[in-house]
């Protein structure tokens, strides 16, 4: 091992002292920054992962849309299902309605499902908390959980559904009565927006309410496992007419995903400042060390050490603190992630806000998804920042003139 690395290690871990105060505090600062980055980025990744599952589970991996709707949708479905990599396709109609129960109105989005094919594409059935998807027919609906709670409807109740067509009918002096439908299920997906404003009915019910005839608004597509969504969307587009387009779920929700990524990027950037502040503390400690060890630096020159190696000795201390702090931070971060739900439960018990958390996030457990790339970025950036923290002290040490260093008091 080169002498400057050996001496750097010895200065951090002197003989006979396992963990000196300077090393402990500097390492702890870096470790806390890394742990926080890992925890927050993993939890945010967990939320994003859950949202991805939720989207794919309710709408498939690829969405086909057309301006003005798709007329001969059975033919389009057949074409799509013949594309390699496509497992199944299901048509849907979707628009806003007004529903009313016990004089309480709500304005959700009604999504009409093709009962013959919907379960081959979506996994809506697994989100039904009360009732069953099998009970759905042209005179019934399934309400999302928060919507049902807000109007007070339960399984078995009858609600009124008003179509947007009512406006054009009224303009033509026609009478248009609301549809009376039974509630046959309550569905909770786990996303606040969907759970507060979505109603599921049959495709025919939606077509009737919107006056679509045999037209549908779009087709959801399920892919075989491992098939790339973008590649599949391109293959589907190749067999579709130009006015009907297939988009991967990432393209369909690109705005939402952009905001999600922006949030993650901003939080990463802000939390990185903890590591930067810790690095400043390393710089400050190493600068003090340079002043304290001025005569030793003079001695090293007298023994034949070159200024670049003297600099490397101090820079290496920043590097070692970075490596050690990163390792400790990863252990701390992953340990905290492993017990995250216990921590959340404890906080909720103490603050008595358990219900609020459930209402807004709907996750029974705090999600976590750690991306290897994110951890890699955290490791590389932290070690680089810590090493850079040693640069200024290293430069000061290298600039010391041996004679002046040896003479210093």
């Amino acid at each position: 091992m080169p002498w400057y690395l050996h001496l750097a290690l010895r200065q951090l871990f002197p003989t006979g002292r396992r963990f000196p105060f300077f090393t402990l505090i500097s390492t702890l600062g870096v470790a806390l920054g890394v742990a926080l980055l890992v925890i927050v980025m993993s939890v945010m990744g967990g939320f994003a992962h859950e949202i991805r599952h939720m989207i794919v589970d309710t709408e498939g991996e690829v969405q086909i849309v057309a301006r003005g709707g798709i007329g001969d949708y059975p033919a389009v479905v057949r074409k799509v299902e013949s594309v390699p990599g496509v497992a199944a396709a299901t048509p849907y109609a979707r628009d806003e309605v007004m529903i009313r129960f016990n004089d309480k109105p709500a304005y959700p989005l009604l999504r009409g499902l093709d009962l013959d094919s919907v379960e081959r594409v979506t996994r809506l059935g697994r989100y039904v908390r009360a009732g069953s998807l099998d009970d759905l027919d042209d005179d019934s609906i399934i309400l999302s959980g928060q919507l049902a709670a807000s109007i007070g409807a339960r399984v078995g109740d009858t609600v009124e559904v008003y179509s947007p067509l009512i406006i054009s009918k009224l303009a033509a002096d026609e009478v248009f009565l609301p549809r009376q439908v039974r509630v046959v299920g309550i569905l909770e997906i786990g996303h606040q927006q969907l759970d507060s404003s979505t109603v599921y009915g049959t495709l025919r019910l939606a077509q009737d309410l919107y006056g679509l005839g045999s037209t549908v608004h779009g087709i959801d597509v399920r892919l075989n496992p491992g098939v790339n969504e973008d590649d599949a969307a391109a293959r589907i587009n190749a067999v579709l007419p130009e006015d009907i387009r297939a988009l991967s779920w990432e393209d369909s929700f690109s705005d939402f995903l952009w905001v999600l990524n922006l949030e993650r990027g901003m939080i990463f950037f802000l939390l990185l400042f903890i590591v930067i502040v810790a690095a400043f503390s390393v710089t400050s400690s190493l600068l003090i060390s340079v002043v304290r060890k001025t005569r030793e630096i003079g001695l090293l020159s007298a023994l034949g050490a070159r200024p670049i190696h003297v600099a490397a000795c101090f820079c290496a201390q920043g590097l070692f603190i970075g490596v050690l702090g990163t390792a400790a931070g990863l252990v701390l971060g992953f340990t905290a992630l492993a017990v995250r739900n216990d921590i959340v439960l404890w906080i909720m018990k103490v603050t008595q806000r358990q219900e609020v958390l459930r209402r807004f996030y709907q996750f029974s457990e705090l999600p976590s998804h750690t991306s290897g790339a994110t951890v890699g970025l955290i490791v590389v950036l932290t070690i680089a920042i810590s090493t850079l923290a040693g640069l200024l002290p290293a430069w000061k040490a290298a600039r010391l003139k041996p004679v002046e260093a040896l003479r210093s008091e």
Binding site: P2, W3, H6, L7, R10, Q11, P14, T15, G16, R295, E296, G298, L299, L300, S301, A302, L303, G304, A305, R306, P307, H309, K401, P402, V403, L406
Partner: protein, 223 residues
Amino acid sequence: MSETVLSARGLRKSYPSGDALLEVLRGVDLDVAAGESISVRGVSGSGKSTLLNLLAGLDAPDSGTVAWEGSADTGARRRAAYLGMVFQSFYLVPELDAFANVLLARRILGGVDGAARARARELLKHVGLGERAHHLPSHLSGGERQRVALARALMNSPRLILADEPTGNLDEGTGNGVVDLLLGLCLSANAALVLVTHNAAHAAKTRRSLVLHAGRLEPPFTA
């Protein structure tokens, strides 16, 4: 004729003192033969340490030259192999034990192997610290620290040792022991020695005594 390991010609060095320049060295000439021991005495502030720093290549003269074995290369890389230095304040690295301090000289030169470790142990035994090899400097007495510094100076088998008042921080008895050890080690290693000292008795033990007076090296005045 013995080979000259150190040759200085016309060394001049001055330092700013207020508005004026204080000329510390005014043309110093010195030749040191292989294995020779020379003492340099002089009053405080006469420029003894300045001269030693110039001879070690740690500082540059205003004019004049320093050559080691005829070569003007006195850079860091050559210094590690050619020169050993001993200081008044020992300058041991506090985080390293005695053995690691001795071995540090070889680490800087490069190539620490079993033989180097064995030599470091042998040198520590030679200076009477074989049993204290793994003691930190803070656990050693002043005399013991200086003996570690002597072992470190000899680690790379240098041709020349420059000692700057090595007994300045030691009591008389310990100082005498250290000087005797230093002279003995240089003799057995055939290393030349330039010993800067205030002590006339220590100076008398070297083969040649010089006095730095008015910026020049002169033979000692004898009544």
